[in-house]
């Protein structure tokens, strides 16, 4: 079962390989990683970023797309048109360069090594970034280009790439370090590029009168990875309009106008392009289409635009202001610019040639064709929620898009300082010497050239601030923190694919469905339950992502040789389309299409004829009303693909999600159907994500349990990394006694997960023993606990920043606070218990709530001596505020980058030991979680004949309803493995009905002298009597989850209250209470526990004594009386009702008269009682009184 160990370093067996790991760990390999599979999992993130700045990469192409910006001089609002043409200032970007992270030039101390390492950034809580330089050129009119090089101080982040200094030996990279926090641009599922999708959406009808729900959309992606969505709408009368968005505004243009503007054409060509060549097969049946095309052509006549030039001019004139095209451009050129930027830019986004425009023309015709087919019912709609029609927006691509857009915006923003300069200098022409003098220092300096700041904002918040929206459906949530709670969680971040925040609010659940199309690309198991369920997916562990386009220059010729021609016929039965990356290569018969598909596949696997292996050849066969047929090939980046075995050649083939639904891929070798199957899976587990693969025997479990394990694996207290000493995460968890699981798949070794143990092997007995194991509680052997079972630690980092909150202007030397005891001031002995001479905490010191963590004093700068002097001799402190005892692990003194300022910031790493306590959560690897309910004394635990006592007892009732048979099998395998010293292979789908897992491991147990089924007779630890039933006992890998009672318990008797209502406040941190809500109240009522109810809702809440007048039933009219003779003293707590009282006339007896606070004298109103009421009742009374509503209470008796 286990693959045999080979000599190469990167081959991993299923064995424990302890010695090999130890060797690797002590001498990290110099040449390459020992875990290439692990590195490959992160590759898309790194590579997609690397392609941004490489030669001919995203930025280079983006610069070309941005082109030259032209600005005109003179007052654009001046009415006087002197006829003379205005001068043109042209600005363009020539190149962008990203430097390595380095110290600023102001630092005079570092001489030899000026580079900054990522580990340093992490520890200093700063951003790992390098300088981004832009080379820019400008000229006036048609003068020479003047270079203005290396002058932009833009800063930019680069992902951490394999820095060995103070890093993990298997550091993966692929993330950004922003303010010391590791951030990651999450991969996003977006519509497949360059494929016209048939969509039927009710919302399309809202575009205007006549609009129907039918449409064709294409997400056209430029070479620089930015995209522009074009949509065709079908109108009731058969007309077709083109819709696009530009800078978040929507525009609709008759598609005929665009067609006519693209190429010099005529109605016949358009007609034949849409319907099919005249005289071709099936033309007669195409009455539906011919009618509509006729109408299309006829209605367009109203515009009276007949030539390409005129159409372009018309479009140009309309869109010139929208596209920010300079005023002096001709309308026709503006029209060409419109076509370049907006219409199917994937077929030509810069330096557009005639043939490219013809490609666009043909593609538009094809789209109209497909639209009519859709309306006619000839083809089905494409499902935008299926992976077939999706690709992945990679982090690097998004980053590059933002960068490009920001550069574009920056160039555009020159216009404002230019105008400002013109206004101040009486509109001097650009040709003047003053302009030459001022342009760089005055005008360009005024622009906001800090693109890095914008990117930093993006990376730290994940919010996209963009004028165009980048053709995306969301503006926030692009970036997530790569949390290092344990390694499973960390690695999962890189395999995570989100469907988009937009879909999260959608009421319908269709987008969340697991569709068969995602087989092999998205893991069916690894998705969280709850609100992100189905939206946040993880890629199958063998699924790769293309980060670069492959060379497909040979394809058009090959296809032509295989019988593709430019002529199409009316019927799909006679001709179907052949496309490459959204370019129509031609048409051929359906039979020929299949031949083309098969031949190209053979060649691509064979590696001949210049067909790249990564090419996706999507052959869609003809069907009755199914997906629109044709051969669609895709070669560009952002595609998913996965390895399968191509049977005719027995070699590796890559399969994409577009082609997969129409292929016959056998799941296992025996399932190959001769004459049908073309491929076979390398392994059925290839469809699972890394984490899902780690669940042992997951094929024995009920599927939701495997989902739960994928969640809990990521929450377990494990080993976040090995270089913990060089990390300063806000909070990290660490399991002190981690072990390698006895039962694990070979992939566990391949992914190097033994470097990051995530749990402990425990002897688990399934028995209902003490009564403390009800409802998923588990019992822990007290001795096991004392020997270190599940012992964990939390590391917290507290930053003590003297300048926090005070914004010091850069460069000024006004440091006002310094660390340390105030010189000359009193230093108490108790302070010195926790703090060292320098005022910083002692390493290893135990600190409790309220203890001091660092000392500081105020200073002022004395220019005479050049030193900081303390005036008051007062020492102040940073305090530890949390209620848990911690130890000081590390103290980091953080200086400034230029090295010339005194230290004003330290970061203290604290260690909180967390040994398991009752109420802590544990789980096996089968979604079987439970809280520890007792630490049971070892002598009372049940034991086997050999004296083995379980570490953990779980209740048998945890199994029947959950059906986690995998856990039983793991227990069996673990027991056999522990007895024989074996690492057990737990890969799912390895056993079948004839060759069962139970049999395999049962025989191993028998060999060791144990019962075949894993049961053992056990004795009660308390009486010593043999238990009547034999007990299922074995070894199961247990995870300790990070949810611990110490972080959760909430108790209160009295405590802080809300000042308005008098009720307890909420929140555990603030010492508040837990709400007894309506439902809890109902339950208490139903139980008849009135006393408890009153205690909760009244006495422990807002119990108040209030005076109320029995006569008029009011709280508000009562007033305390004031003794006539003893001013300032209350009248003996006597309360009277002012409302029922009469003003005293002076005739009454002294004993009847009372006086209120204002000195008014009354008689009567003495029927006042003091009652206990909830405080809010009085408050309600006041609120209602303010609205003129009087509450009247009846007081009895």
């Amino acid at each position: 079962m286990a693959p045999s160990a080979t000599t190469t370093n990167t081959q991993w067996s299923t064995e424990f390989d302890t010695a090999k790991r130890q060797r690797l760990f002590r001498n990290p390999p110099k040449d390459k990683t020992a875990y290439p599979t692990l590195a490959a999992a992160v590759d898309p993130h790194i590579h997609s970023f690397n392609t941004i700045f490489e030669e001919g990469g995203q930025i280079d192409l983006g610069i070309k797309e941005i082109g030259t910006k032209v600005f005109l001089d003179g007052d654009q609002f001046s009415q006087v048109d002197d006829g003379a043409s205005r001068n043109r200032l042209s600005v363009r970007i020539r190149g962008v360069f990203l430097d390595k992270s380095a110290l600023p030039v102001t630092n005079k101390f570092a001489v030899t090594n000026r580079s900054i390492m990522p580990a340093e950034c992490r520890e200093r809580h700063v951003t790992y970034r390098g300088k981004l330089r832009v080379r820019m050129e400008w000229r006036v009119n048609n003068g020479d280009w003047q270079e203005s090089s290396n002058r932009c101080h833009l800063e930019n982040m680069s992902p951490d790439q394999l820095m060995k200094a103070k890093e993990e030996t298997e550091e993966l990279g692929g993330y950004f370090i922003v303010n010391g926090i590791e951030k990651l641009i999450r991969m996003l599922l977006v519509t497949r590029r360059n494929y016209p999708m048939a969509i039927k959406r009710g919302a399309f009808q809202n575009r205007g009168p006549g609009y129907t729900s039918f449409g064709i959309t294409i997400r056209s992606v430029r070479p620089d990875q930015s995209s522009q969505t074009n949509a065709l709408h079908y109108l009731n009368d058969g007309n077709v309009n083109l819709r696009f968005s530009w800078r978040k505004a929507e525009y609709l243009v008759p598609v005929m106008m665009v067609l006519k503007a693209l190429v010099e054409t005529n109605d016949r060509e358009i007609f034949e392009g849409i319907v099919g060549a005249a005289g071709s097969k099936g033309l007669e049946e195409k009455q539906f289409v011919t009618d509509r095309v006729e109408l299309l052509l006829r209605t367009y006549k109203v515009y009276g635009l007949h030539s390409k030039a005129k159409t372009r001019a018309y479009l140009g004139q309309k869109f010139k202001p929208v596209l920010q095209i300079p005023d002096d451009t001709t309308d026709e050129d503006a029209g060409a610019e419109f076509l370049r930027k907006i219409v199917l830019p994937h077929l030509g986004a810069y330096d557009v040639t005639e043939s490219q425009n013809a490609d666009k023309f043909n593609m538009l015709l094809f789209m109209i064709r497909k639209l009519y087919a859709l309306v006619e019912g000839e083809c089905a709609v494409d499902n935008p929620d299926a992976v077939q029609n999706q690709e992945v927006l990679l982090g690097g691509h998004l980053y590059g898009m933002i960068l490009k857009e920001q550069m574009d915006e920056w160039l555009n923003s020159i216009t404002f300082p230019l105008r400002e300069w013109g206004r101040k200098n009486s509109w001097l022409p650009f040709t003047s010497n003053e302009f030459q003098r001022d342009f760089l220092p005055r005008i360009l300096k005024r622009t906001n050239e800090n693109i890095g700041q914008k990117l930093e904002y993006f990376l730290s918040t994940g919010n996209l601030v963009s004028p165009t929206g980048l053709d995306l459906q969301q503006t926030a949530g692009f970036v997530v923190v790569a949390e290092k709670i344990n390694f499973y969680r960390f690695i999962s971040h890189f395999r995570m694919v989100h469907r988009g925040a937009f879909f999260a609010q959608l009421k319908t659940t269709t987008v969340r469905k697991l569709l068969p199309e995602s087989w092999g690309f998205l893991c069916p198991v690894h998705t969280p339950d709850g609100s992100p369920c189905g939206l946040l997916n993880h890629m199958a562990h063998k699924c790769k992502l293309a980060t670069q386009s492959v060379d497909v220059s040979a394809i058009p010729n090959l296809v032509a040789r295989l019988g593709v021609s430019g002529k199409s016929s009316a019927s799909l039965d006679a001709s179907v389309v052949v496309q490459l990356d959204g370019r129509v290569l031609g048409f051929c018969s359906p039979k020929q299409a299949k031949v083309i598909g098969d031949t190209l596949r053979y060649w691509k696997v064979e590696g001949t004829h210049g067909v790249p292996l990564e090419l996706e050849v999507g052959y869609i066969p003809n069907s009755t009303g199914g997906q629109y047929p044709g051969v669609y090939m895709f070669s560009q980046a952002a595609r998913m693909y996965r390895p399968v075995k191509y049977l005719p050649l027995g070699k590796l083939d890559y399969v994409g999600p577009f082609e997969q639904p129409f292929m016959s891929i056998a799941c296992t070798e025996p399932e190959i159907v001769s004459g049908d199957s073309t491929h076979v899976e390398y392994d059925p587990t290839n469809i699972l994500s890394i984490l899902a693969n780690m669940t042992p025997f997951s094929d024995f479990n009920q599927s939701p349990r495997n989902m739960y394990q994928c969640q809990m694996g990521k929450q377990s207290m494990g080993t976040p990394g090995t270089a913990l000493r060089y990390r300063t995460d806000n909070k990290t968890y660490r399991l002190q006694t981690g072990q390698t699981p006895v039962v694990r798949p070979p992939l566990h070794n391949e992914y190097g997960l033994d470097n990051f143990p995530n749990g402990t092997n425990a002897v688990v007995a399934v028995i209902s023993y003490t009564g403390y194991d009800m409802d998923d509680a588990m019992i822990l052997n007290k001795s096991a606990h004392e020997r270190g079972f599940g012992h964990g630690t939390i590391y917290k980092t507290k930053v003590c920043d003297l300048e926090e909150g005070s914004r010091r202007s850069r460069g000024s030397k006004a440091v006002s606070k310094l660390f340390g005891f105030a010189p000359g001031g009193l230093v108490r002995a108790e302070w010195r218990e926790k703090l060292d001479d320098d005022g910083w905490p002692l390493i290893g010191a135990e600190i409790k709530q309220g203890d001091i963590m660092a000392a500081w004093h105020t200073v002022s700068f004395d220019p005479a001596t050049g030193e900081y002097v303390n005036q008051d001799g007062q020492t102040q402190f940073f305090k530890y505020k949390e209620d848990e005892t911690a130890f000081v692990e590390e103290v980091r003194i953080i200086g400034s980058e230029n090295g010339s300022e005194p230290c004003t910031k330290i970061s203290v790493k604290l260690r909180v030991p967390r040994s398991p306590v009752i109420g802590d959560k544990f789980s096996s690897r089968h979604g079987q979680k439970g809280v520890m309910s007792q630490k049971w004394p070892a002598i009372d635990m049940p034991f086997s004949e050999s004296g083995i006592q379980p570490d953990v007892i779980i209740n048998p009732h945890a199994f029947p309803s959950r059906m986690t048979i995998g856990m039983f099998v793991e227990s069996l395998a673990g027991k056999a493995g522990a007895l024989h010293g074996l690492a057990q292979d737990s890969t799912p789908f390895r056993f079948d009905e004839q060759n069962t897992a139970v049999d395999f491991f049962g025989h191993q147990l028998m060999k060791a002298g144990f019962n075949y089924f894993g049961n053992e007779p056990m004795y009660s630890g308390i009486t010593g009597q043999e238990l009547a039933a034999d007990i299922y006992i074995g070894v199961v890998y247990y995870q300790r989850l990070r949810h611990m009672v110490n972080d959760k318990y909430q108790v209160r008797t009295t405590g802080p209250i809300n000042s308005l209502t008098g009720q307890p406040i909420k929140g555990r941190k603030k010492g508040g209470g837990i709400r007894v809500g309506e439902m809890e109240r109902d339950a208490l009522l139903a139980h008849g526990t009135a006393f408890l109810l009153q205690d909760r809702l009244m006495n422990c809440s807002d119990y108040t004594k209030a005076a109320i007048c029995r006569a008029c039933g009011s709280f508000l009219s009562t007033t305390p009386t004031v003794s006539e003779f003893e001013r300032g003293r209350k009248g003996g707590n006597v309360v009277r009702c002012r409302r029922c009282a009469k003003l005293a006339e002076g005739m009454e007896s002294k004993s009847e008269v009372w006086e209120d606070g204002q000195g008014l004298r009354y008689t009567g109103g003495d029927d006042v009682a003091v009652i206990a009421v909830p405080g809010v009742l009085k408050y309600l009374d006041v609120e209602l009184a303010s609205m003129g509503v009087r509450l009247k209470f009846k007081v009895e008796p």
Binding site: G947, P1017, E1026, A1028, G1071, D1102
Partner: protein, 330 residues
């Protein structure tokens, strides 16, 4: 009754196998409750010696103080004659620890060479003044004579600790356990039918039988009638030492402790003076009160600033009719 008359019902112990680490024996004519009591006592109530308090002078290793301390605690120490030689620290008159109630070990290691240095149990140095010259020595069983690894040091790192080994029992902490697991079995042939074997087809085929024990106990005859009144009388013990005590000492000590406990019960019943059997009172200090937090830390005095019309910034809980007024009629 003749104490050696096995047939006559005298308690009898028969050793099946015994060496320096294991004692495999059976007790005949014994009863279940006492046998189990002996097992429990041997597991948890025999006093042994283990490091309980560590004074850390220097620790620049990668492991945290409390983690090394935990490891030190689990190192088995020779506990020869500990029962008489040492007092329980809590019974001792000294303040903290002294020679009468503890053995002091010192760990002082520094790595000065390149590469990783391992600190082993043999590096624990026992200070003089111990009651006998074996007690407190770390148990080392491996052929190289190194003992268990405590910590690994890199160049420049060092540990310097004073370890106070005290007498204690496993009931308090597992580190004082003289044996890790004690095999215990009776009725290997299930003649008493205490156990209802689960089986698929045939329990005889599916259940493994410990042949030796089964033969000693007597294989039941075919068709032998089931004696439902029978009680187990023959008990198989398998005591394996952790190393601090000889296995036979463990058994002897177990019996002694059991006798003491019984004597204590008798004395209590007769109203005699209280003998502190120990083991119930003390407990090692735990971080954060064993996880429940410091009980005094929960006071809410810090919230006094939230005063309002409702008075005092806290619910007037104390002023309820239930709190202040004495219960009137019940």
């Amino acid at each position: 009754m003749d104490p050696y008359d096995v047939e006559g019902g005298a308690i009898n112990v028969r050793f099946l196998q015994a060496d320096s680490t294991r004692a495999n024996f059976l007790i005949q004519n014994f009863d279940l409750a006492t046998a189990n009591a002996l097992r429990r006592v041997m597991l948890a109530e025999i006093p042994t010696l283990a490091i309980d308090v560590v004074e850390v002078f220097d620790n620049t290793s990668v492991l945290a103080d409390e983690f090394i301390c935990h490891r030190l605690g689990l190192i088995p120490l020779n506990a020869k004659n500990v029962d008489e030689a040492l007092l329980y620290s809590r019974d001792c008159e000294c303040d903290g620890y002294c020679e009468n109630c503890s053995v002091t070990l010192t760990l002082n290691a520094r790595c000065t060479s390149d590469g990783v240095m391992k600190v082993y149990a043999r590096d624990l140095v026992v200070s003089g003044g111990r009651p006998n010259d074996e007690i407190g020595t770390p148990v080392i069983k491996d052929p190289e004579g190194l003992g268990s690894v405590i910590v690994k040091l890199n160049k420049g790192q060092s540990v310097h600790m004073k370890c106070i080994a005290k007498k204690g029992i496993a009931k308090e902490h597992a580190k004082w356990a003289p044996s890790a697991a004690i095999g215990f079995e009776y009725d290997p042939n299930n003649k008493l039918r205490h156990l209802d074997y689960w089986y698929e087809e045939d329990p005889k085929k599916e259940w493994p039988v410990d042949e030796t024990n089964a033969n000693i106990d007597g294989v039941p005859q075919e068709g032998e009638a089931f004696d439902y009144d029978a009680a187990p009388t023959r008990f198989f013990f398998d005591v394996e030492t952790v190393g601090g005590m000889e296995p036979d000492t463990i058994v002897q000590q177990g019996i002694r402790v059991l006798q003491q406990k019984l004597a204590n019960v008798i004395q209590e019943l007769q109203g005699g003076e209280d003998i502190d059997m120990g083991g119930f009172g003390g407990q090692s200090p735990q971080m954060n009160g064993g996880g429940y937090g410091d009980p005094t830390a929960g006071s809410f005095s810090a919230y006094g600033g939230n005063a309002s019309v409702w008075g005092g910034g806290a619910t007037p809980y104390g002023a309820t009719p239930y709190g202040q007024q004495p219960p009137s009629n019940w």
